[in-house]
Symmetry: C2
Subunit: 246 residues, 2 copies
Amino acid sequence: LGEGKPGIGEPGSSTRVVAISSGKGGVGKSSVASNLAVALKRAGKNVGVVDGDIWGFSIPRMLGVAEPPVMMGEKIVPPVAHGVKVMSMDYFVGDDKAVIWRGPMLHKAIEQFLKDVFWDDLDFLIVDMPPGTGDIAISMSQFLPRAQVVLVTTPQPTAQRVARRAALMAAEVDQEVIGVVENMSWFTGDDSKRYELFGSGGGQALAEELGVELMAQVPLVPAMGRGADEGAPVEIAAPGSEAAEA
Amino acid sequence: LGEGKPGIGEPGSSTRVVAISSGKGGVGKSSVASNLAVALKRAGKNVGVVDGDIWGFSIPRMLGVAEPPVMMGEKIVPPVAHGVKVMSMDYFVGDDKAVIWRGPMLHKAIEQFLKDVFWDDLDFLIVDMPPGTGDIAISMSQFLPRAQVVLVTTPQPTAQRVARRAALMAAEVDQEVIGVVENMSWFTGDDSKRYELFGSGGGQALAEELGVELMAQVPLVPAMGRGADEGAPVEIAAPGSEAAEA
Ligand SMILES: Nc1ncnc2c1ncn2[C@@H]1O[C@H](COP(=O)(O)OP(=O)(O)O)[C@@H](O)[C@H]1O
Ligand SMILES: Nc1ncnc2c1ncn2[C@@H]1O[C@H](COP(=O)(O)OP(=O)(O)O)[C@@H](O)[C@H]1O
């Protein structure tokens, strides 16, 4: 079971870790994370996704994961959906989230979550980070020192300011921000009009400020809310995987 | 300065505390909180608002607060915007948020934040809670045992499930959920068509499940994102204040 090989996040590991972060909740970070994972799988990669956002929508649910992980010896074998291996903190925590996520217990749970899972030589591990930069995000980052960070934001200038914090934290824990995804950039009505429901420009401004690429602008697509479990919309898949493979 | 009078959250206090909570970030909780505060002020009430959501958008910024709090003896005097007194954790924490919010320091900061402020006999204190039910939300709730909770959610059934957790926590800390506000319920195009961008039914389902009123359905209004600091849209103000005064 891969004894002796470097684990995820360790020097020499050939798995590329991409952390999907945001300054605050509700910008579509988990949606972007699950869609990117599926897109990379469809591009032929061996992909895992880790749901670290315990207060967000569940990635296993978004991807339509139908069964729990199983134990194989001391390793945890993740369930698979759309060809992507899925681990979620929900498997460790269940409904008692308010109590358990403090201090050393938190840190230990995160370590298990990342190290005791049998991922089987992934090309990519997509990590859905908790929004903001609180305890859980910091602990997770400590186990993933060379992760590449993609920041998800909305078009509003306020969102750009708040996403900047996540960029600052990435720098502090030695992670590299590689790009920005602007989500909910506009909505196209049946009249073919483009409505900018959440303003405009925030993604571009943040990308420029951080000296990285604006990797994609994803429109508000009602189907995306309903059918994230049916796979990746093209707008996020194509630029995401091209940039990720760059 | 009110020595000997019961403080906010203490037995005998005549200030009604309304906590605005959500299951996850990005549902519009802070927008609803600031708009409700302004609406109550316009209805003639003496209103304060506390921004407890350190990772969200800043309520002082949303309301256009132009100056910081000042000290008057041992009490902190909050700045005023649109007639509403505004306190924010940002005043205590500044940019060092990642470091400071742990354990006893957190608890102490919250206590100061609520008890050492000169509110001057408020009718209502609107508390913008952090999303979810993590450490900060729990600590704040411990200081506000009889707070009435309004849950903000979006129309999606997934959001309803996640908002349920916040309802469970309220019950645990002896707070009463008095209603649900469904936000971003639809968008009305220039063609007068109503687009349900985030599904439908989540607010009603949650309200029924909790046995409370669906107090309002607030449509997606681009102006609301831009101009929250210019005051309350009618849709949220009217039902909010009627229900709150009930
Ligand atoms: N581009 C989009 N179009 C339509 N709905 C979206 C889009 N992006 C996200 N959503 C929906 O918005 C909600 C919030 O997205 P989510 O990925 O959970 O955000 P976060 O992880 O940042 O909290 C979800 O219900 C999701 O389905
Ligand atoms: N009804 C609405 N119409 C348009 N924009 C909205 C609406 N409600 C919230 N917003 C915008 O959506 C974003 C998220 O809202 P916010 O109140 O910060 O959510 P939360 O406090 O739940 O994280 C903000 O930029 C806000 O201006």
